[in-house]
């Protein structure tokens, strides 16, 4: 039995290494993705191009606009005369936001009833969120500042800061600078592992069917389970190399801190890989051509990306959608991966996810072993 597994493995390794072009793509793709994510994706949007409509043009309005600019989120491009003109600037894409200050801002501020309007281009979700938060934060701290100074003036000797009833300070754990790459690396690892493990396996089996070699294999003493294992091992090796590449680049190039145990992570990744490989076998049993397998793999990948929490936080999803996400192995691995890499937690805190993955891997493997037929029909 071992000899037959070894025979299939050897053959598979030779074939993998001989197809240089495919191998290059397999290895280069994750690297490309990591660099794209690392340099192009920023979840926090700043330096939003902004136009200003200032009907007051007094000291207060200037200092408010200055405060907005100093926050780093808004770059004032130029001043326009009216709100309509400001909206036109956003329409034409010259600006993403506009600040409108009504007449007599100074007087209104003194009376405590000042208003300022911030118009945001809503076509980009990230911009909206960042601009919205930034505008509110800036306005709040600006008001507090004004209030404090006012009180200090009326009650000399009073300590301004002590007058604030509540002071909220936010400290972001694990990722204080809110760098996207730190958030992304554990996700990319999960995605690469799932996608490559599934597609490599599915393709290598479907290829035998397409080429007709499966018929020749079926008449040898090689059993389906032996064929499966022999085909999986080389794919595990390739997927592991990819995982190490991403982790290495993430840690050493992008300076993503790896907080937890690398060994724990390795075993968890292996478990996840095995369940993805099993998924690949399942895909192969229902596809008769590589193109079909490709489509199926994509059909699995997209819900995985959307529902697992890779891009969108699962907390915001409706219950039913979240339940659908519970059926996807990537959901669990993503939690494990973020737990170990970013938060540095141990097995004790992710054990329920580990159990879910184990069950998943067992079910997928049992299904795929059962569906892999020894006969042609």
């Amino acid at each position: 039995m071992l000899q037959r597994i070894w025979a299939v493995m050897q053959k598979q390794f030779i074939q993998t290494l001989r197809d240089r072009r495919t191998l290059m793509v397999i290895i280069a793709l994750p690297v490309l993705m990591l660099f794209l994510m690392g340099y192009a994706v920023e979840i926090q949007v700043d330096h939003i191009r902004t136009v200003v409509v200032d009907h007051s043009r007094d000291q207060r309005s200037w200092s408010f606009i200055e405060a907005l600019e100093n926050s780093g989120f808004f770059d004032v491009l130029y001043y326009v005369e009216s709100q309509d003109e400001a909206i036109r600037a956003i329409d034409e894409g010259r600006a993403r936001a506009a600040v409108v200050i009504p007449p007599d801002f100074l007087g209104a501020v003194e009376r405590g009833e000042a208003q300022a309007l911030v118009i945001i281009d809503g076509s980009d979700a990230m911009t909206v969120q960042s601009a919205y938060n930034a505008a509110i934060t800036v306005a709040e701290s600006y008001s507090v500042d004004l209030l404090t100074r006012k009180l200090e003036r009326s009650q000399p000797g009073a300590h301004g800061a002590a007058l604030q009833p509540l002071d909220v300070r936010v400290r972001v754990l694990y990722n204080p600078d809110m760098k996207a790459i730190i958030f992304m690396v554990p996700g990319i690892v999960a995605m690469i592992l799932q996608n490559q493990a599934t597609s490599l396996t599915a393709f290598s089996i479907v290829k035998e069917r397409e080429a007709g070699t499966i018929e020749q294999l079926l008449v040898t003493p090689i059993r389906p389970l032996e064929l499966m294992i022999g085909k999986l091992v080389p794919n595990v090796v390739v997927a592991s190399i990819n995982m190490l590449t991403i982790l290495g680049l993430g840690v050493f190039w992008f300076k993503v801190p790896f907080s937890g145990s690398i060994w724990l992570f390795f075993w968890m990744a292996l478990l996840f890989m095995v369940s993805s490989l099993g998924l690949g076998i399942l895909v192969s049993t229902v596809s008769s051509t590589q193109a079909q397998a490709q489509q199926l793999v994509l059909m699995i990948l997209i819900p995985s990306l959307v529902l697992s929490g890779y891009i969108f936080p699962r907390e915001m999803m409706p219950k039913l959608v979240r339940f659908a996400g519970d059926l996807i192995p990537m959901t669990y691995f993503l939690q494990i991966s973020r737990g170990i890499i970013t938060r540095g937690v141990g097995l004790r805190l992710v054990w329920s996810q580990v159990v879910s993955l184990l069950i998943y891997a067992a079910v997928v493997f049992a299904l795929s072993a059962g569906s892999f037929k020894q006969r042609l029909e």
């Binding site: 053959k11 030779i14 070699t213 020749q216 029909e377």
Partner: protein, 321 residues
């Protein structure tokens, strides 16, 4: 030796056909017996059920009805034992194009449980036998059609099988390579007493078999030695060469003519007592103003017998409903 290697009893296998929206019987009740050391040729047109029969005998399909055994092993329950003692060459070139010639042989050797030492001993021998010893390092995909077939034959012989199944082994191969391939088979038969079960659409290959089965629409319509099969033709054969296709119609109307077959400009006419009738046949055609450029009595081949038998089968079917 002695005894039977392959036994099939009333095998049936149907598949769902999308085109005909129903199940069609690819194999519809075939029984046959192949003795050890015998070469059996299953001859028939495309779609007659040859490949299905092959796969049934190798346990790749489960029959709907009937049973079969190879080397006394049941094709459904003991197919693994069958695979141990048999070699199977699928119709398509089913070796790995991205492996070299030697790697292909070694892979199948290891898959059949041969030790590395056994492989090292047998691979060069088989390469020499198949005439591939000059390019063991060539990728299988870069071999010519004939060489691919020889490599496939060599890889199915690596575990010294007792019986081999060849599904149209010379399809798409040039005539010289075809002859070479059959010479290899003859050598195997002589050296090891190998039982060979072969499917082919080529009638000349049928002549090289001990027993021939004619398969048509899932049924065996005739079975026997090539001599027996030829003997099924009525009368004797006269070959007439003319340049007018109308000659066939004229001759068919002549009294005592049992069968007319057209092969281009060649007419093969079956009559009793050919030697005496030949002049009358030529005369009948020339009476219509058609020139006859040649006429002789000839030995009929399997092909003529096959055409005759299929035609008779079709006429029978038309009369039946």
């Amino acid at each position: 030796m002695g005894g039977e290697m392959i036994v099939a009893e009333d095998l049936h296998k149907a598949f769902y056909s999308h085109r005909r929206r129903g199940r069609i019987e690819a194999v519809a009740g075939i029984s046959l017996r192949v003795a050890k050391g015998e070469t059996y040729g299953l001859i028939g047109p495309d779609g007659a059920g040859k490949s299905t029969m092959m796969r049934l005998l190798n346990g790749l399909y489960i029959p709907d009805k009937g049973r079969a055994s190879v080397g006394s092993y049941d094709t459904v329950r003991q197919f693994r034992e069958i695979h141990r003692i048999s070699g199977y060459m699928a119709q398509r070139f089913a070796l790995y194009g991205d492996l070299t010639v030697a790697e292909n042989l070694r892979f199948f050797g290891r898959a059949y449980g041969l030790s590395a030492a056994e492989c090292a001993e047998r691979v060069p021998k088989l390469l020499r036998f198949a005439g591939l010893d000059r390019f063991p390092q060539r990728l299988a995909a870069r071999l010519s059609g004939g060489m691919k077939k020889k490599l496939a034959l060599a890889s199915m012989l690596i575990h010294n099988p007792e019986v081999v199944f060849l599904d149209e082994p010379t399809l798409g191969v040039d005539p010289v390579s075809r002859r070479e391939f059959w010479d290899l088979l003859s050598a195997l038969r002589a050296e090891r007493g190998l039982t060979i079960f072969v499917c082919t659409p080529y009638m000349d290959e049928a002549e090289r078999c001990h027993t021939v089965g004619l398969i048509y629409e899932g049924r065996l319509i005739a079975q026997g030695t090539p001599h027996d099969i030829r003997a099924l033709l009525p009368g004797q054969m006269v070959e007439l060469r003319t340049n007018n296709l109308r000659a066939a119609e004229i001759i068919a109307g002549v009294e005592g003519v049992l069968e007319v077959q057209t092969y281009g400009r060649l007419l093969r006419v079956f009559v009793e007592d050919a030697r005496r009738r030949i002049a009358a046949l030529v005369g009948a055609i020339e009476a219509s103003g058609i020139e006859v450029s040649g006429a002789r009595v000839a030995e009929p081949g399997i092909e003529e017998a096959f055409v005759y038998l299929i035609r008779r089968q079709r006429q029978g079917e038309m009369r039946r409903p």
